[in-house]
């Protein structure tokens, strides 16, 4: 297997571990991976967030550049890349919407960025919400609207979880598109709320 033929930059031995050489314990040159592989997670939507956070902190404890101040340039470089990968992967996995996006890309090579959305019903629904947001005048209404959006997001996350379980990925992709729109409305809304 190709993966097993990676050798340690320091001692030259074969390395199986992702981060450290089993022989000389040195930090290893980062190799390509997706966020799920980085945290040794199965390709499933439902993940244990608390465990993910604990794993994230554990790995950062070992890999963060602060732990390599006295190390050589190679090790410093690798630590920076590993630590950066961890940060990015962790935040992508914590957010259910970006997590769904990554899963779809891995499982069915579906990338929302490369698609044009032509689901008329969805677009109409989103347009209505946008309009509602634009017309917010009072803080009280804003709060109600915000709760509504949060409720919609929560419902869709439950649905997408089921679709992933049923391995109905095309349907999951559809919901992911909707969630992406809803998230954008939520974020834009935060800006509006500061103004109110």
């Amino acid at each position: 297997m190709k993966k097993n033929s990676i050798s340690c930059w320091n001692c030259g031995n074969n390395v199986k571990n992702f981060f450290f050489c089993e022989h000389c314990k040195k930090i290893q040159k980062p190799i390509e991976h997706d966020p799920f592989q980085l945290f040794s997670l199965p390709y499933e939507f439902n993940i244990d967030i608390e465990k993910l956070e604990a794993d994230f902190f554990n790995l950062q404890h070992k890999l963060h550049p602060d732990k390599f101040i006295n190390a050589n340039e190679n090790e410093k470089l690798f630590s920076g890349i590993h630590s950066g990968n961890l940060n990015q992967s962790y935040h992508l996995l914590v957010d259910p919407i970006s997590r769904a996006g990554i899963l779809l890309k891995i499982l069915i090579n579906y990338d929302l960025k490369e698609k044009t959305v032509n689901d008329k019903i969805l677009l109409f629904e989103i347009m209505e919400l946008e309009e509602e947001k634009e017309n917010l005048q009072q803080k009280k209404d804003a709060l109600i609207f915000y709760k509504k959006i949060m409720g919609l997001i929560d419902d869709e996350i439950k649905t997408i979880n089921n679709k992933f379980k049923e391995e109905n990925y095309l349907e999951a992709a559809k919901i992911h598109t909707k969630l992406t729109y809803l998230k954008k409305i939520k974020n834009d809304f935060k800006k509006v709320e500061i103004e109110l």
């Binding site: 930059w9 320091n10 001692c11 030259g12 031995n13 022989h23 000389c24 340039e73 190679n74």
Partner: protein, 107 residues
């Protein structure tokens, strides 16, 4: 005064090549450390110190800290690799004892 086994010589060449920057060679020193008092150190060389002893090999130069020469006379360096670990092994006829941790020795 010091010998390298073929495996050790090969491994040093390989590591020098993989270091990512041009090195002047490698250097053996002796530092005070460990539970028996003295310990070898092995380093890449960027700046040559004139007081160092030089031993030339096919692909590289080995520098020896003058403080270390006394302890190193007759030493053979080998490269060992097994399932658990790999690295350079110093066999020193001058050594009288080795400490438990294997890190240091006394004469």
């Amino acid at each position: 005064m010091i010998t390298l086994t073929e495996g050790a010589e090969k491994q040093v060449s390989k590591l020098l090549e993989n270091r990512g920057k041009v090195s002047k060679g490698i250097r053996i020193g002796v530092t005070t450390k460990g539970c028996s008092g003295l310990s070898y150190s092995l380093e890449f060389v960027d700046d040559i110190q004139n007081s160092d002893e030089k031993v030339s090999f096919r692909d590289f130069t080995l520098f020896i800290d003058p403080k270390a020469t006394f302890f190193l006379i007759g030493t053979q360096i080998d490269y060992v690799e097994d399932e658990l670990q790999s690295g350079f092994k110093f066999s020193n006829p001058n050594e009288k004892g080795r400490c438990g941790c294997g890190e240091s020795f006394h004469i």
